[in-house]
């Protein structure tokens, strides 16, 4: 029976898994790092498309990263992507709910008619610096802005299905795992989203 200097050391020895051959734990951390690095900007843009505010989007993405790393790092890496997007979507919806409650509450306060969420955003804010093909870039940037506005008008499930299938390139099964619904529901949500968006943007694009 091994003897331990302190009880805490004994707990740590019992709790820490046996060292894996070839530094598997380190590999797992590196793999998680690679996964998050690969996904973080797309996740941020998706969150921003849903929430509009970049700081809110960053908060939600950071929270999703933390939860994935803390709770699901030991899961097979193939499960990370649907898990991450499920956490991200939960964070987005929580924030939207809080905004809704805040709006209802703010209505009753004097001098609170100016809601920052309703302030029109200048599309030129997102236009990159002028370059050789600045007009083309500006047009595409404005087209993306219009797409984001239309996405925010969709029901949450349709927006999620469209982003995961189209933006993230996930297949139906993976999207269903991320959304926590059946594959048939994913197809329905996606089809409706495409139909609605095409109706709204088809002529503009």
């Amino acid at each position: 029976m091994p003897r331990f200097d302190t009880l805490a050391r004994a707990w740590m020895v019992w709790d820490v898994p046996a060292p894996a051959p070839g530094g598997a734990v380190l590999d797992q951390t590196q793999e998680l790092d690679r996964f998050l690095a690969e996904i973080e900007r797309r996740a941020f843009r998706m969150a921003q498309a849903a929430l509009r505010d970049p700081d809110d989007a960053l908060d939600v993405v950071q929270d999703a990263m933390l939860k994935l790393a803390r709770n699901y790092a030991a899961r097979p890496s193939a499960e990370w992507r649907p898990l991450f997007y499920r956490i991200l979507e939960n964070g987005i919806r929580d924030l939207q709910r809080r905004r809704t409650v805040r709006k209802k509450f703010m209505v009753w306060l004097p001098g609170s008619n100016e809601d920052p969420d309703n302030q029109a955003q200048d599309p030129l804010d997102n236009v990159p610096d002028a370059g050789p093909d600045a007009p083309e870039l500006m047009m595409r940037s404005q087209a993306m802005e219009q797409l984001e506005v239309s996405l925010r008008g969709l029901p949450a499930r349709q927006r999620q299905a469209f982003m995961l299938r189209n933006f993230e390139g996930m297949d139906v099964a993976e999207t269903a795992a991320a959304m926590g619904c059946s594959e048939g529901s994913v197809k329905t949500h996606y089809s409706r989203a495409v139909h609605t968006l095409r109706e709204q943007l088809g002529e503009v694009w």
Binding site: A8, W11, M12, W14, D15, V16, T29, L32, D33, L36, A37, E40, R41, R42, F44, R45, P54, L58, V61, Q62, M65, L66, L68, A69, R70, A73, N126, P128, R140, S141, A143, M144, L147, N166, F167, G169, V194, L197, R198, L201, G202, W205
Partner: protein
């Protein structure tokens, strides 16, 4: 710009919207990229720290369950009350008996044979007790 594989059978609308999205991803500014990198490192550090902690110190996750249990127990006690019934002998209850025993056992009052009297004249004391409780003698 990166090349993205396109699924077959996608409409031009879907292809176009995907291209626009990935262009916007590439256009995320350096400041935001830096903040995303910091967030990623913070997440990895938190995961590593959580892994190093002994299991007993991870019981923060148990705290809500313990709180709910304690509240439920307190609620049950307040709702149903403490168990009622005959309680045991208390110090206050036992005090008169001890005093009586002292009197009986005392040998200072010239009654050193009090125990003997008690044993011999039980009938007398029984009669005396009944007479005392029935009221003043006529």
């Amino acid at each position: 710009m990166k090349e993205y594989t396109q699924d077959t059978g996608q409409s031009p609308f879907e292809v176009h919207s995907r291209e626009l999205f990935h262009e916007s991803v590439d256009a995320v500014d350096m400041r935001m990229r830096s903040r995303l990198t910091q967030a990623r490192h913070a997440a990895l550090d938190a995961a590593a720290a959580a892994k190093r902690r002994p299991w007993l110190l991870r019981m923060g996750t148990w705290t809500p369950a313990a709180g709910v249990t304690a509240a439920a127990l307190l609620g049950a006690v307040l709702w149903f009350g403490l168990p009622s019934g005959n309680h045991g002998v208390t110090a206050a209850d036992s005090q008169p008996s001890l005093e009586d025993l002292d009197i009986v056992a005392s040998s200072d009052e010239g009654a050193g044979d009090a125990f003997e009297m008690l044993q011999n004249d039980l009938d007398f004391y029984d009669f005396s007790d009944k007479a005392a409780n029935s009221g003043p003698a006529a």
